[in-house]
């Protein structure tokens, strides 16, 4: 460790913080904070990309850093915050597993990811090859985040953080993807969030809730039952009732 240059130490620190942030996201139940954590994750990615660009002198990494800044630090969190405000969802409901249990599962997942990344790291020749394990761990932890959540909003945040993990993995394994792929992925993510935003409104209009387990019963009869039973008993606010009236007027 004493032999490693300082910028590589900083990169390692970034990797470690990314891992920590994934755990913070796993434990977080407030959606607003979850989105803020996602923005911080983007910021860390930005720092890591800049450090790596400075270290390797690869020109295209500066571009992808700029892309990260624009998309992951500024744009996506802003879109998500706007969605949260308009949908009035601030809390995820009962998690499927309690927090301490999720944490322990997360630890097992990290150990698994590190084992998984061992052979890849052995083959890679980059200075940051050790961080591949952390990237895999971040991806799998985002998976766990998505699995243990019910609300569509936190699942999307999990999805985006998985994309961050993939980006970090590509960066540490091969100093970043080809520029065209990176642009494509960035555009995809942006479009995905926009489309999912529209999707949220549709889901809520159908089921009066963003709880995704309603989607498990997707046939005509059951969904109408779901509307009948959840329309009255959901944890709604008066604002949503007002919104509920709006589409009804549209229909008439």
């Amino acid at each position: 460790m004493t032999g490693t240059p300082f910028d590589l130490q900083l990169l390692n620190l970034c990797a470690a913080l990314l891992l920590l942030l994934s755990f913070a996201m796993l434990a977080q139940r407030r959606i607003v904070t979850l989105v803020n954590l996602l923005a911080v994750q983007g910021g860390l990615l930005l720092v890591a990309t800049l450090l790596l660009a400075w270290r390797t002198g690869e020109r295209h990494l500066y571009l992808s850093a700029a892309l990260t800044l624009a998309l992951k630090v500024v744009l996506l969190p802003r879109i998500l915050h706007r969605l949260i405000r308009r949908l009035q969802v601030y809390w995820d409901t009962e998690p499927l597993l309690n927090i301490s249990g999720t944490m322990l599962v997360g630890l097992v997942v990290v150990v698994f990811a590190f084992g998984l990344a061992q052979p890849i790291s052995a083959l890679a020749s980059t200075a940051t090859r050790n961080a591949i394990g952390i990237a895999v761990a971040v991806i799998l932890l985002s998976f766990v985040t998505m699995i243990t959540r019910r609300k569509a909003m936190s699942q999307v945040v999990g999805f985006l953080s998985m994309e961050n993990g993939l980006f970090f993995g590509a960066m540490s394994a091969t100093y970043g993807m080809p520029m065209i792929v990176e642009f494509g992925v960035a555009l995809d993510v942006l479009v995905a969030v926009l489309v999912l935003g529209i999707f949220f409104f549709q889901i809520r209009e159908q089921f009066d809730s963003l709880d995704l387990h309603h989607l498990e019963s997707l046939n005509e009869y059951q969904s109408s039952v779901a509307i009948a039973s959840h329309g009255t008993a959901r944890e709604g606010s008066p604002r949503i009732d007002g919104e509920q009236a709006a589409p009804a007027q549209k229909e008439t």
């Binding site: 490693t4 390692n12 470690a16 301490s100 590190f114 050790n130």
Partner: protein
């Protein structure tokens, strides 16, 4: 064994015994300042210990010999622990006897005897406190062990002075693993020493108390020893933290009275900063419900294990 080492050992023990109540007084004073109260004298812990030693002890009729002997055992364990932990110099003759894992065992022994003594009388409060203490203890211990393991792996030894020496003499480097374990250690320190997110050291009669509930039946010299032992425990934990995370300035040389002398003001400075930080953390956080304590300590364990994993993967 050189005479200088013996001097270091004796100095450390005396310093721990003498400075522990002072450290507690300093933390209390900082807390009072931060909470806009008039601060009690920094010497208050000394005065209360002296006062208690002058009083006559009252012991419940149902008390067994265990109840009488527990204060001496607990106090003794803390003094031995203070002898093992390197606070000023690393050349300590006593440390051959026990490494860091044995130190955790020593602290556990003290906890077991304190809890047994609290249950001995059979009052509701004592039993309640003892049970809660054991709950906190069994959750905090693995986290503390993990913290020590990370530092041990980095220095390839479990002897605390060797770890401190290794880390103190190394070239300065960023250790994310040590940063994570430092956070874990602070959480464990707060929980183990009955500080605010887990227990409130300022209350004497509340349903939520843990440490104070165990001491309710003690009086006079027994109570004095128990309180002194609690102060020593806080001091010991602070010194473990220094040895693991900020070992700079500790005297590592074989026989160097000068470095030993310079380590004294450094230790004082570290203690002063730690005390103020501790008071700040306590003022900023609210007490957790007892049922949230496992979550708090699970996150400490998580931090420590993450530190270990990060070290194994990144070598940092």
């Amino acid at each position: 064994m050189k005479p200088m080492d013996l001097v270091t050992q004796a100095l450390e023990l005396i310093a721990a015994l003498a400075a522990a109540p002072l450290f507690l007084g300093w933390v209390n004073q900082c807390r009072a300042w931060l909470q806009n109260r008039r601060a009690p004298s920094i010497l208050l812990p000394y005065r209360s210990i002296r006062k208690l030693f002058y009083k006559d002890a009252v012991i419940a009729e149902s008390a067994s010999p265990l109840f009488r002997s527990a204060p001496y055992i607990v106090f003794g364990a803390m003094v031995v622990a203070a002898g093992i932990i390197p606070s000023m110099g690393t050349q300590l003759p006593f440390t051959i006897a026990a490494d860091a894992i044995a130190l955790v065992g020593l602290l556990a022994t003290a906890r077991v005897f304190q809890s047994l003594a609290a249950m001995d009388i059979g009052t509701a409060f004592g039993t309640l406190g003892a049970r809660r203490e054991m709950m906190v203890g069994f959750l905090a211990e693995p986290a503390l062990l993990m913290v020590i393991f990370v530092a041990s792996i980095i220095s390839a030894t479990t002897a605390l002075p060797a770890i401190a020496e290794n880390l103190a003499t190394q070239k300065l480097a960023l250790y994310p693993s040590l940063a994570f374990t430092a956070v874990a250690f602070v959480l464990v320190l707060l929980a183990e020493n009955a500080r605010i997110p887990i227990d409130n050291p300022a209350t004497h009669l509340e349903l939520t108390m843990i440490h104070e509930a165990m001491l309710l039946e003690y009086s006079a010299r027994h109570l004095a020893l128990m309180e002194w032992a609690a102060a020593l425990k806080l001091f010991n934990y602070a010194c473990i933290g220094f040895a693991l995370f900020v070992p700079w300035g500790i005297s590592t040389g074989a026989d160097s009275p000068i470095t030993l002398l310079t380590s004294i003001p450094l230790l004082t400075a570290k203690l002063a900063i730690t005390g103020a930080t501790l008071a700040f953390i306590e003022t900023m956080s609210a007490k957790l419900r007892v049922f949230r304590a496992p979550e708090f300590l699970a996150s400490a364990f998580l931090f420590a294990v993450l530190g270990l994993l990060v070290h194994l993967l990144l070598g940092a």
